[in-house]
Symmetry: D2
Subunit: 388 residues, 4 copies
């Protein structure tokens, strides 16, 4: 009977992600992809009217289509267990993450929250503490680590195939904020460049935090000290749109992290290069199914998603045979798949399978918040190195 | 009231695609992706037991989880309109396509059927006639034409950007049948290399027909005559695993079509090159978001999915901003999206939006069957050219 | 004393390659590159005046700057051995190859001749016989086989790394003849499209013969029968500008060969793909320092020129460390380097080092002539297969 | 009579570059390529015996094959003008550059010197002053700026096609010093990691200076301040083998410069990305014939060497049609070609054609020396920014 949870779809509610939003629809497609989770409730916008219209677009029942996220939580808590949501997906602008996430956790709901997790280290600590106290599942959609070949890279590093890591270069280059879009009515640009909604950082928070997470996920190395140069290169912009960092990593490796949104013509150029004593790995998000391995003592090798010689972690993150492209949504779906596996395990009273419950956790989100804070501090300092 | 159809998800039943099948799950993910269509019934295997177990995996209600496709049709016909399926998705091995599709059409159901459509030209003609008679929607999952950049290529050709087309080279190279997998218990290999289930052709039917469809979809050109060399290069194989064709296209263009499944190490290497008097287009399925345009009088251009300067047809086939990879499932979903748009339009009594209802039709499937038949005939002939 | 030949540069004369010519300057740069061979005489054009002006451009001494190739040969034969040329480089339009080459060989000179060697099989046979009789060195500048990674491919095939070869696809695509340049005063286009100067074939002779040579050099396989479709797609052109062939190779492998000069926007797209039972090799001339190896049972590997794990044949054909691009001229120089090694060995009375004397010979040139002849015959035939 | 200089080859002597040297042979091949310059004298090693043996390898006349560079200069000064060398090429280890170059300039000889020019800013200033005083030609072989597509990039920036430059990322990554080769008898590694012969910097001097030059040549921007982290990641190494810099450029652009020789498996990965308000340019040395242009408002464009729509500067730096790869040696030859054009112009008493005399000058070399010095100073500082 405990396995009943495997005989039904998981149920979730979404907060944020209504009409005009970008990332909410991506979450929903990612969640829908594998037919294991269904949307049953929502508070899809901070405007009650827009929230309800958005819910109707998604065929939500009126009773579970809320104009406000507090009403959603109240309603769900009153429902019987066999129809109550299993988790909440939070896809609002950044400044709303903390209150919603905190309330959900306190109410005992499992949560998936977009990144950056919250605005301040204090909020992050509070959230980590609440999750620990409540024992709930909390995933953070650092979606790029959901790519199979990122997991392959991580496993190769863990298996020692690179030897001791010496140098890491991670870049996240975009061009879409090369003009002052926030002055032209672009909603995505507007909140991302508004300190009140986006936090103390612009590009570093929006995409730099992805770069930090990617580096950390693959290498397992922690930042010891950093040296940041943040700039607002587009006139009139309140937050940074370009950042470059020198990194010193624990254990002695050196690093460079670049996050910039003013590289005209570049699309979503997240890339990672990790060099160790035995070899180098190179991965590019725009060609995510390939992982290039340059061993010190033999020809370059290109690993491709779906190949039988990949690690089990990479193979389980893959849906199609090699050569049949998977993309961004599948990687996103892998984060949700990990969360779902963890939730099902808890509902079934079983330990989670580590390979299945493979997703970024609240602690990863908190580390990302600290990264942003330390970067902003370094950028304001005349000293070369700012300690972590 | 006529728009009621837009206020609910479409409902479908699947025939085939149970446990151990490959392509059925791909169809289901593609259908689920956009949250517009739901699976409500199925006859998922030719084995009743496996069919029901497969249906339970997919959370089908017992009453609509059938052991036989005829029972499925009978049951659906008895149900009230407001719960009856809107269409049937047929994902069985090839030899089952015809009876199921014919019965569905005759029963008035809309259909999506995998390719190659049927085994013989007679069956194809019968099906085309039935669809015409019943006025139903009938899509064929030549999924590669669902890629946005394939549609962009098609639109550029239509707009005259290549001038008069002179040369087309289309290749579909795989390596997975380079050994005699069908003798080792591989189900996919077994039915594909069995004339009874796969038809008169092996690689030419399985992947050559995709190549033909891609060429036809992009160029709009028809084959006038062809010259084929089909071989079974793996010892003991009953059907061709390698084929190469010279083509003469109506209007004077020349072509080459290659379909081979014995290219060790190659994954799913479908590629197209079209040269006209003004320029050349190159597309590769394994990097589907790029379309290379080589104008005669300027630098090479790389168009990328999601860019604002693409044709409307390409833009509407895209879900994410450029640089956020989409893949095989999204392209597949675009075929279903086109079918769904057409079905909704008919249910609403409206003409379909041509850009929305963009999908391969039963006539495309019939042309593919003819292509296979003509290729097999040419391969058996000593004459250079076999007329279409 | 016998090693005296290694204490000086070799001396050569060039026939053809004057002002306005294209390939002559390439030969000269290739010859000059390694500082082992010097130009001392010439008859650089069929126009005596242009020949002499061209010789002055190249700092030739007046006494050895001839207006006619017969005068050149006469003059050289009269000179003492310690200043006489060691070989003649023939870079004239195709129709002049035969008389010059024949006269040089008959006079006892070593020769390097551009391709295609001659116009007819009879000429080719006569030349092969003359070379055998005279015992002279005779190289043919199928320069693409001079690329280190082509030699690496050849060595890997010879070493059995691909297993038994099953499929070969070789293409040589250009776009520069997509318009009727020969009607616009372009000298290169004019002679290439003129049967009197270029022979019975256009694109097939000019570039198809390179494709045939590349395939033969790498695979070692001979053509058993072929089926050709040759076309003149540009109106008013006398010779083919587009050709596609199906090939059956001795031993059972299948092949496709494409040579076309009307692919607008394509530059010099010579590419080869060879699939065997154990793996596939892919090489592209436009990125010549990479050789892609797709083993059946492991990840794709990219071999790069200059790497220590390459075959000795590939390493000896390389001048710079990996990552420092070499190109067309270096490959060309490798052909001359092979010829020079053979000449020096003969002058020293030593057997040539096979790895050093690695160059296409008169027999390769003769086979290329036969390839052209058989292709033209097949194109005129209604039968599918034309025997070699 | 003044044009006499165009009727003969230029003559040069080489200092350094004997047996076991690497770069000397590259210079010689580059110089030989175009048949315009001939080697007539040399002092090819600091060991007199090795120098003479090396000269015999190169067919030098005994009288001009010197064991010491001072003897070479003395001898040349005594020769009549019509056989005296036109310039000296200095290809010794770094610490010998200054005395040889200074002596050559003082003796009135034109010079080409490898980089980094000298060890200290004082030496650089002295050399710049001497060249100005003597009015001689002085080229520095920052060879990468000889690539046609680097010149194309420079011309596009100059023409304003990128708008105002905002971000520059230049990387030069190699892996060959990932192990302690200098302890294993590798001559190239030994002198490069020895402060006495290589100067105060390792990777930053050897390859970082190329990166700085490439950035400066393409963008024309000067460094205002920099922040460097230099490391010796291989145990026991005296000089840096890894360096990363944040840059602030005059006018407000931001930059990152990376130079590292411990990236296992990487070959010669010099790459540049320049983003301006209107577009981005990307160039990679390992694929030098392509320049990628990403305009803000249209599809990505790939410019290829040899295309008629390139700038005149790029076209004149090219020898072969597009698609026929040129490489490292050709780029190197373009530096020598520029020097030769300048020397010929001076010998002819004519002003040099700016497009022909396109080469890095002594001032560029001096700026490179300053770059190294400032970088080393920054690396030793706790302050974030070190002024230029």
């Amino acid at each position: 009977m405990t396995h009943d949870i495997f005989a039904r779809k998981l149920r979730y509610a979404m907060v944020g992600g209504g009409r005009d939003a970008f990332i909410g629809a991506v979450h929903r497609k990612a969640i829908a992809l594998d037919g294991q989770i269904e949307l049953v409730a929502g508070a899809l916008s901070s405007s009650a009217e827009k929230a309800r219209a958005s819910g109707r677009d998604l065929f939500l029942a009126d009773a579970r289509n809320h104009g406000d996220w507090r009403a959603l939580l109240d309603d769900e808590l009153k429902r019987p267990a066999d129809e109550r949501i299993d988790f909440v997906s939070i896809v609002t602008p950044n400044h709303v993450h903390f209150p919603v996430a905190q309330a959900c956790v306190e109410a005992g709901f499992h949560v998936v929250c977009d990144k950056p997790l919250v605005h301040t280290r204090e909020q992050a600590d509070a959230l980590v503490a609440a999750v620990a106290r409540q024992g709930t599942v909390f995933g953070v959609t650092y979606n790029y680590t959901g790519y199979p070949m990122v997991r392959q890279a991580r496993e190769m590093v863990r298996a020692g195939e690179l030897g001791e890591i010496r140098k890491v270069v991670v870049e996240y280059n975009q061009g879409w904020l090369a003009t002052r879009l926030e002055g032209e009515g672009n909603k995505q640009a507007a909140w991302r460049s508004d300190p009140a909604r986006s936090g103390a950082a612009g590009a570093i928070g929006d995409i730099g935090s992805h770069a930090e997470n990617l580096m950390a996920a693959v290498t397992g190395l922690e930042i010891e000290s950093l040296c940041a140069d943040l700039s607002s290169l587009v006139a009139g912009r309140a937050l940074d749109d370009d950042g470059s960092l020198l990194l010193r990593l624990r254990g002695g490796a050196r690093g460079v992290l670049i996050a910039s949104q003013i590289n005209t013509g570049l699309e979503n150029d997240l890339r990672l290069r990790v060099s160790g004593t035995l070899g180098t790995l190179v991965w590019r998000q725009e060609q995510p199914s390939e992982l290039t391995h340059l061993p010190h003592d033999g020809p370059k090798r290109i690993f491709t998603r779906g190949s039988p010689w990949l690690s089990e972690a990479a193979q389980r993150a893959s849906r199609l045979p090699s050569g049949h492209p998977e993309g961004f949504i599948e990687a996103f779906a892998n984060v949700y798949g990990g969360v779902a596996a963890d939730i099902r395990a808890r509902l079934a009273g079983q330990p989670a399978d580590a390979l299945a419950a493979d997703y970024p956790r609240v602690e990863d989100g908190a580390r990302g918040v600290r990264f942003i804070e330390r970067t902003v501090a370094s950028a304001a300092s005349d000293r070369k190195w700012t300690a972590w």
